[in-house]
């Protein structure tokens, strides 16, 4: 789960990371009030879960409260990469002398939180990484010992010469690490970590993503989720414990397991069709999930056929069958449904489906071919 910049700032601030005092607002009037309180030039920043806000016009300078209000009125409601801006963050404009980058991510390879720092920070950090990888310094932190003082100092020495700045940056890395670990983050970034012309070191922008698996036991973090900033169909899917990604085709896919879901989409393409979505109903079986999956897919008008591809393991195919039967009783499904079921409790599943006059195929290729043919016939 991605946090908004203003939420990430709050977590970092509580840990002591130095940053400029700002405020978050949902209306242009609130922005005026905040800008008045701050005084001087401010930056108004769109709070959306999308990169490249600045280039999309979602970050603007304003010299006066009146200008801030005006700018905010333009940014609020703006759409950036499909997401509507609901809130803006207002912070004083900083007098930046240099920009560094500090990122901390859960690294698959080392299986540890990995620091990446560079004195060449700012919005072009990815280009720096691609073109001059030697400018990115890395350190995997052993969680058994935490970030040790000589390690944070060593990282900070890659960023600054002035020892006051080195110590300030080292402290911020320790704070960033503690926020990361304490909140089950999968990513925590400060970019830019800026020095001002009077030598101070400040976090000017922050990004934190929380591991979704932490949220069940951390209601405080789960409460930070801003559903208004997400794709509605994905919100519905997540609430139903489904993984759903909308695509452009017309074959609606309901599959158990991400690997098989991808392989099913690949096979739809292989046989000349176009998948309408990625939808993984996951491991544990629960008829309700199938009902929700069908609701989400049938809500997409471009879908012409629904393809179930279920290989039972931990998922019991009879549960899926029951879900299909329940769904078709709860609401009318006008689309053709092609069902492929095999594995755990397959016999029971077939019986259940046959009981309502539905048929289940056993072969994946055959099911996909049928679904593609139906989708083409429906055009």
């Amino acid at each position: 789960m991605n946090l908004h910049e203003y939420q990430a700032r709050e977590l970092l601030k509580a840990a002591g990371v130095p940053m400029l005092d700002g405020g978050v607002a949902a209306t242009a009037d609130e922005v005026h009030a905040i800008a008045s309180r701050i005084g001087g030039t401010v930056v108004v920043k769109a709070q959306v879960h999308a990169g490249g806000r600045g280039k999309a016009g979602g970050v603007k300078l304003a010299k006066t409260p009146a200008e801030a209000k005006e700018v905010a009125a333009r940014i609020l409601g703006m759409t950036i990469k499909g997401l509507v801006v609901q809130k803006v963050l207002v912070v004083p404009a900083a007098d930046i002398a240099s920009e560094s980058y500090v990122g901390l991510i859960m690294d698959r390879e080392s299986q540890r939180p990995l620091f990446m720092v560079s004195s060449a920070g700012g919005i072009d950090i990815e280009e720096v990484a691609a073109k001059t990888p030697e400018k990115i310094h890395r350190l995997a932190v052993d969680p058994r010992f935490g970030l040790m003082p000589h390690q944070s100092l060593g990282l900070a020495l890659k960023l600054y010469q002035d020892f006051n700045q080195v110590r300030a940056a080292a402290r911020m890395m320790e704070q960033l690490y503690s926020v990361f670990m304490a909140n089950g983050a999968s990513l925590a970034e400060i970019n830019p970590l800026a020095t001002t012309s009077d030598g101070k070191v400040l976090a000017l922008d922050a990004k934190i993503s929380i591991d979704d698996n932490e949220l069940d036991r951390r209601p405080d973090l789960a409460a930070l989720r801003d559903e208004s900033a997400e794709e509605p169909s994905e919100v519905t899917a997540r609430k139903a414990n489904l993984t759903f990604i909308k695509l452009d085709g017309n074959v609606g896919c309901v599959v158990n397991g991400a690997g098989l879901a991808m392989a099913t989409m690949d096979l739809v393409k292989y046989y000349g069709g176009d998948p309408a979505n990625f939808l993984d109903i996951g491991g544990s079986s629960n008829p309700e999930k199938v009902v929700n999956a069908l609701k989400i897919i049938t809500a997409d008008p471009s879908v012409k056929v629904i393809l179930f591809n279920i290989f039972g393991g931990i998922t019991r195919t009879d549960d899926v069958a029951n879900g299909i039967v329940t769904a078709t009783r709860q609401f009318k499904v006008d689309l053709p449904i092609v069902i492929r079921l095999t594995g755990t409790n397959e016999k029971e599943a077939v019986k259940i489906l046959e009981g309502v006059g539905m048929k289940a195929l056993n072969d994946m290729d055959e099911a996909v071919k049928q679904a593609v043919a139906l989708a083409k016939g429906a055009k």
Partner: protein
């Protein structure tokens, strides 16, 4: 023989009395797995299905039954601790089925598991099966048949699909292993490939990868250097949309790697026969075993 589980596997099920744990324990028992114990704290002294003794702790189970392998079905919030408990009790092979374990929980306990000298398979994996001998996890036993092809996969149900293709075409398996797709896992492709290469009863290997990360490329490099047995490979996700970027850091760590095209190229370069669709496995394995 087989890899990781065999006739001397003595299995303890952690979370044996839970919904998933009891369902799959029955299936493992029905398959003939030598299940010697179950563990559910607070239910020590009970018997599962009137025959498998249940203990409060894995240590008790090991002491009383000589269990050497464990499979974990406990809820995500407690699963990493269950892995640590098994390792601390002297279990040498631990299979964690549980999905949704916080990644940092795993990052914190993995070094402990390594120090204890245990091997962890998973988490968030379907486990493994040595057909005709032992099933540890959730791979449906009826789709497998004993034989000489080893299979390793990052995904669950896609594994079943391919195993099923093999079995329907009378190509038996030595062991089928699902390593799981979580960011932190105990056993990776290379570990399994090395085991299959060393197993005298495995003649060929099927490897099922996915988009994302660079594990498949590393495995391909390992195969080119260390695996003499024929390998057939698949990459799922050729038509999948690119995953969400994880900040700048995600882009910096992974660079441009992780696409299906790149992985397929790495496979081909390493001499791996690449399946276009799951059903291709039969033809390719047959071809490679002929040569």
């Amino acid at each position: 023989m087989s890899i990781f589980v065999n006739a001397s596997t003595r299995l303890v099920v952690q979370g044996i009395t839970g919904r998933d744990g009891s369902f799959h324990s029955k299936q493992m028992l029905a398959y003939g797995t030598d299940m010697v114990a179950g563990v559910t704290p607070g239910k020590g002294g009970q018997k599962f299905e009137d025959k498998v003794p249940v203990f409060n702790t894995v240590a008790d189970a090991v002491r009383e039954t000589g269990a050497n392998t464990s499979v974990i079905y406990v809820p995500p919030a407690f699963a990493a601790a269950a892995v640590a408990e098994a390792a601390d009790a002297g279990i040498s092979f631990i299979v964690c089925i549980t999905e949704g374990i916080p990644v940092l929980d795993m990052a914190r306990i993995m070094p402990f598991v390594r120090e204890k000298g245990a091997r962890l398979l998973g988490p968030n994996c379907p486990g493994l099966i040595t057909p005709g001998v032992a099933k540890v996890g959730i791979i449906p036993g009826q789709i497998c048949t004993p034989g000489r092809v080893g299979l390793v996969s990052r995904s669950g149900t896609l594994t079943y699909e391919v195993v099923n293709q093999l079995t329907r075409n009378q190509i038996g398996q030595s062991t089928c292993v699902g390593i799981g797709g979580d960011p932190v896992i105990g056993t990776n492709f290379i570990d399994v490939l090395a085991a299959f290469q060393a197993d005298p009863d495995t003649d060929a290997i099927v490897m099922m990868g996915e988009i994302g990360g660079t594990d498949e490329q590393k495995a391909a490099a390992f195969i080119a250097q260390h695996v003499t047995k024929p390998v057939v490979g698949f990459i799922a996700g050729q038509t999948a949309p690119p995953g969400r970027r994880m900040g700048h850091a995600g882009a910096i760590v992974s660079g441009s790697s992780g696409t299906a095209a790149e992985k397929i190229a790495a496979f081909k370069e390493a001499g791996i026969s690449v399946m276009e669709r799951p059903a291709d496995v039969v033809r390719l394995i047959t071809e490679r075993l002929k040569n």
